[in-house]
Amino acid sequence: MRFAILQFPASNCDQDCLHAVRLLGHQADYVWHKATSLGDADAVVIPGGFSYGDYLRCGAIARFSPVMQAVQRFADEGGLVLGICNGFQILCEAGLLPGALIRNRSLQFRCEQVFLKTAAHDAPFTEAIPPDHVLRIPIAHGEGCYFADEPTLAALETHRQILWQYCDAGGAVTEAANPNGSLRNIAGICNQARNVAGLMPHPDRASETLLGSADGRRIFESMAQCWARRRAA
């Protein structure tokens, strides 16, 4: 399978995503933000970082880049798109995902390991995650507090679009486990069509036991599994 890893001028997890995907034996190539096509990619990863310095609002400038127009088309055709951290912010800004990510409740940047509960296992990003398996994945963001208005949140729940929630080691979704103030402890969501997802934690940084956790692999593996099934069908 072939992943396109987008590169904005100040992406800084582009290498991490490439590394994580290649570790799993897949192909991965960078696609520059000025590119107007994604080539023959089977899936797109929008990596973390600061895209254009994240001035004004995170992801606000990146969403207008030429490559994002290509991503929009790719997503409209059902292609798998995963936004990680800044990638999640860009997807929200671009309207490919609902809601917005605002300043952490603490007003501080937070870098630490968190636990994640997978709230829906029937998405292309979660299907390879064993039920009841609490994921341990790091976060690193200053603006990761998920916000959406009530009707949007209700719709997210109705359509089972909430994919991951911050939880404690035992899988309980608690206030203390919420690192940034996200509504409903939301760490990641997908769109209604389920082919576009974003999350604040970094699966790319949790792809090797050497770095403390390999739980992040499950997310990339889910995408590969879904893609292989679709192709077989």
């Binding site: 800084n12 290498q15 600061f50 310095g53 940047f109 636990f115």
Partner: protein, 789 residues
């Protein structure tokens, strides 16, 4: 444009002495223009010329088998780490700017040191920060002062975070200390390390007659006018006020673009020389590149992009606007340069040319405003042997004995107290604000004795041939480096020579605990005004200790920074020679962390429990004496370098043997604090520490009695800071073997107890104390957050 006349007063204002002015005239053969005066004043400031420290710095060991670029040759030293790979690293201070504007001061400090590293052709892969502030906790009577110290602390930390996080460099380790001597003059030292292949080393030299000189980066403004000179004076209200008008603002986004573009450009081979515009901006970079190459350089200031209208030549030359680079390009390859700068949407301009005259010629709209021989100004700056006199306070320090000091009666409370003391408490409030994991290399994150980073192929700069996007190279060997930064300023204050040896030894010990062999050092000498004989004595003695210790551990000094004039009107700071040390870990299996691993593991102390030859039993200058008795005095613990070397080598052997499950050195707070940290420092995830207790028996071990201090004092045993001690754990099965081996290696290994339970239990001299690990953790982990709430 009328320029001020050169008067003795103006010369003095520029920090030049009458003798220096005479020398300047001799070099020029005439009186200087106003712009030239400005150029000389910054080039001959302490910050740029090291005029007060050069004779001392010469005593450092700077050579070694692995040194590829030595101290002082270029922007940063470079060490070979095998397999054709090399590392460039350096530390730099931004103390005075941070005192004036903590957020931007710290942020631009990070930016500056990152530039020093990629200027060498290396890709910056990690950073560390060493910080000092006035106290943030204490009596409410001092609330206004405490609040100001907290403001500085919070501002500096968020400045480091802002810049490092956005740039995308993991800030992987550091240290933070609090002491009244830093009030009003905080220390902000930042370290950066980069990686490159041997053949990728770039030089900051203006080579090749006729080669064009490019300026890349944002437009020049009036920021940081004469910042180098500012760093070379005492911090007074007047000097700070003056500097306020010209605070530098950092733009990490721009820096990221400049870094990527420069590395990509270097890969094309089109670059003849490259130099960042750091302190003294355009002045320093043009002058030094010409001096290094033995060439001349001519620039036209009207071509320099300018942010503010009507900037004078003086201002343009002295501005310290951030994120700018000077690039000298092989003639005929200008198009490649323009293509890459444009790809990264970077502002650039061609501003001059390399000449063969040996002179630095600066023109403004065609008119010559400065014409100076480059080499003399860069290399013939004055050098001073300052007067040194032993400080008077040392007599009192040396006279201190424990005679009048009652032994501890409540170790339970004392330990809790020490763990919550901001200097000892967990620094998670700091490092959780830093992205310390970006770029998939952080194997040991902040929180253990040394951080460990893995270098993989994509940590390297792009290859010459590939030239295109990054990450193209096939994976080469993985490398593991350990990093630490250390200095106990109290020890150095109480005994500059001994305290400085301790700083180096502690760094080496921290590396050994992680399984690493040290390869090199970069130091940041933070001292007071060198014109003051007692302060200069501190500096001289300190350098003597540092040099000796670096020799002992075979860690050449590859570069560093001198920050003198660290004093507020209240006096000088405690002398603080910050030592950043880098080590190599041969195999990933050797990577060792400080926390206890499994119940049943045996705890061994390597080294003496208390130094029998120290009449203060390690309590001189200790945290215990400061926190529990309010005294900052006494001779610091002795530091026998041989003993340290033996310990570190033994520890590494034991680690290589595979028997060591954890290793933690005893430093601030002594044995009791070290034991507690082993129980509570393993963090699993948010709100989820992995706590584990231990049962310890001091002094009743059958095989090797813990030497009792003489007279036997409990406080010395528990909280004394005797040097050369490390706590390790092994399985019960391995313990006898490890003890036997340690003996052969020349180190005493005493069995102290076993890991397990939910309490730290400590027995000594017939008494027992217990702490719940939950409580220990709570005090230690949340102390800074509580102080800052």
């Amino acid at each position: 444009m009328s320029e001020p006349a050169i008067t003795p007063a103006l010369v003095a204002q520029h920090g030049l002495t009458p003798e220096e002015y005479d020398r300047l005239q001799a070099i020029l053969g005439r009186p200087p223009s106003y712009t030239e005066l400005g150029i000389f004043s910054v080039m001959w400031s302490e910050h740029c010329s090291y005029k007060n420290t050069r004779p001392l710095l010469r005593t450092f060991p700077t050579r070694g088998r692995s040194v590829l670029v030595g101290a002082g040759e270029e922007n940063a030293g470079i060490l070979d780490i095998g397999d054709g790979l090399a590392i460039a690293f350096k530390i730099e201070s931004h103390n005075h700017p941070s005192a004036v504007e903590p957020f931007q001061g710290a942020a631009t400090g990070v930016g500056g040191i990152i530039r020093d590293i990629f200027t060498m052709g290396a890709r910056p892969v990690c950073a560390m920060d060493s910080l000092r502030f006035g106290p943030i906790t204490g009596s409410s009577a001092d609330e206004a002062r405490l609040a100001n110290n907290r403001r500085l602390f919070a501002g500096v930390v968020s400045g480091v975070a802002h810049y490092g996080n956005c740039f995308g460099i993991p800030t992987l380790a550091g240290e933070v200390g609090f002491d009244p001597s830093y009030e009003g003059n905080p220390l902000v030292n930042v370290f950066c390390l980069g990686v490159l292949r041997h053949e990728q080393i770039a030089r900051g030299a203006a080579q090749g007659l006729g080669n064009p000189v490019f300026y890349v980066g944002p437009a020049t403004g009036r920021d940081g006018l004469a910042g180098a000179a500012f760093a070379s004076q005492d911090l007074t209200e007047a000097s700070a006020q003056h500097q306020r008008g010209a605070v530098q603002v950092g733009d990490p986004f721009m820096e990221k673009l400049v870094c990527e573009a420069c590395l990509e450009l270097l890969a094309t081979g089109a670059v003849a020389g490259m130099q960042d515009m750091g302190a003294a901006g355009l002045t320093c970079s043009t002058c030094e590149t010409a001096a290094r190459a033995g060439t001349g350089i001519e620039i036209e200031l009207s071509k320099v992009p300018q942010r503010a209208p009507h900037m004078t030549p003086y201002e343009i030359m002295l501005s310290e606007s951030q994120e700018r680079m000077l690039v000298i390009v092989h003639q005929g390859r200008e198009e490649e340069v323009k293509r890459i700068f444009d790809k990264w949407d970077l502002p650039w301009a061609e501003i001059g040319v390399v000449t063969g005259t040996g002179r630095m010629v600066v023109k403004h709209q065609g008119r010559v405003v400065a014409d100076i021989p480059a080499k003399p100004i860069a290399t013939e700056s004055p050098v001073y042997e300052r007067e040194a006199r032993e400080p008077g306070y040392l007599a009192g320090v040396r006279a201190f004995t424990l005679a009048g000091l009652p032994d501890t009666t409540d170790p339970t409370a004392a330990l809790l107290h020490l763990l919550a003391w901001p200097t000892i408490a967990s620094k998670n409030w700091v490092y959780r604000q830093y992205d310390h994991m970006v770029r998939d290399g952080s194997v040991v994150c902040p929180g253990s004795d040394a951080a460990v980073i893995r270098l993989k192929a994509d940590a390297l700069p792009p290859r010459p041939a590939a030239g295109t996007e990054t990450g193209g190279a096939p994976p080469t060997v993985e490398k593991f480096l350990a990093l630490t930064v250390d200095c106990n300023g109290t020890y150095v204050y109480l005994d500059p020579y001994e305290g400085s040896k301790i700083a180096v030894t502690e760094a080496a010990r921290n590396l050994a605990c992680s399984g690493a062999t040290p390869v090199g050092v970069t130091d940041n000498l933070n001292f007071g005004n060198p014109h003051h004989p007692e302060l200069f004595w501190q500096l001289r003695e300190s350098v003597r200790g540092l040099a000796e210790a670096c020799r002992a551990f075979q860690t050449p000094v590859t570069g560093g920074n001198c920050s003198l004039y660290n004093q507020s009107p209240a006096g000088a700071i405690d002398p603080t020679p910050t030592i950043a040390m880098v080590g190599v870990i041969a195999r990933p299996e050797h990577i060792t962390t400080q926390w206890f691993k499994d119940p049943g593991d045996v705890i061994l102390l390597l080294g003496p429990a208390v130094d029998p030859a120290d009449p203060l039993g390690g309590l001189g200058g200790s945290a215990y004496l400061q926190v529990l008795h309010g005294q900052k005095t006494g001779r610091p613990p002795r530091c026998e370098l041989d003993q340290g070397r033996t310990l570190h080598e033994a520890l590494r052997s034991l680690i290589y043997g595979g028997a060591v499950k954890s290793a933690h050195d005893c430093s601030d707070g002594g044995l009791a604090v070290a034991l507690a940290e082993c129980c509570i420092s393993h963090q699993v995830a948010r709100e989820t520490p992995r706590l584990i207790g231990a049962a310890i028996e001091l002094g009743a071990d059958g095989s090797g009695t813990v030497a009792a201090p003489n007279p036997p004092r409990l406080d010395a045993l528990l909280f004394g800071e005797t040097q050369h001690r490390v706590l390790i754990t092994t399985t019960a099965l391995d313990a006898p073997k490890v003890r036997a081996q340690a003996k052969i290696l020349g180190v005493t290994a005493t069995e102290l107890g076993v890991v397990g339970g939910d309490q730290l239990r400590l027995r000594a001299q017939g008494q027992e104390w217990r702490w719940s690990v939950v409580e220990l953790h709570d005090r230690w982990w949340h102390a800074l957050a509580r102080a800052m709430a």
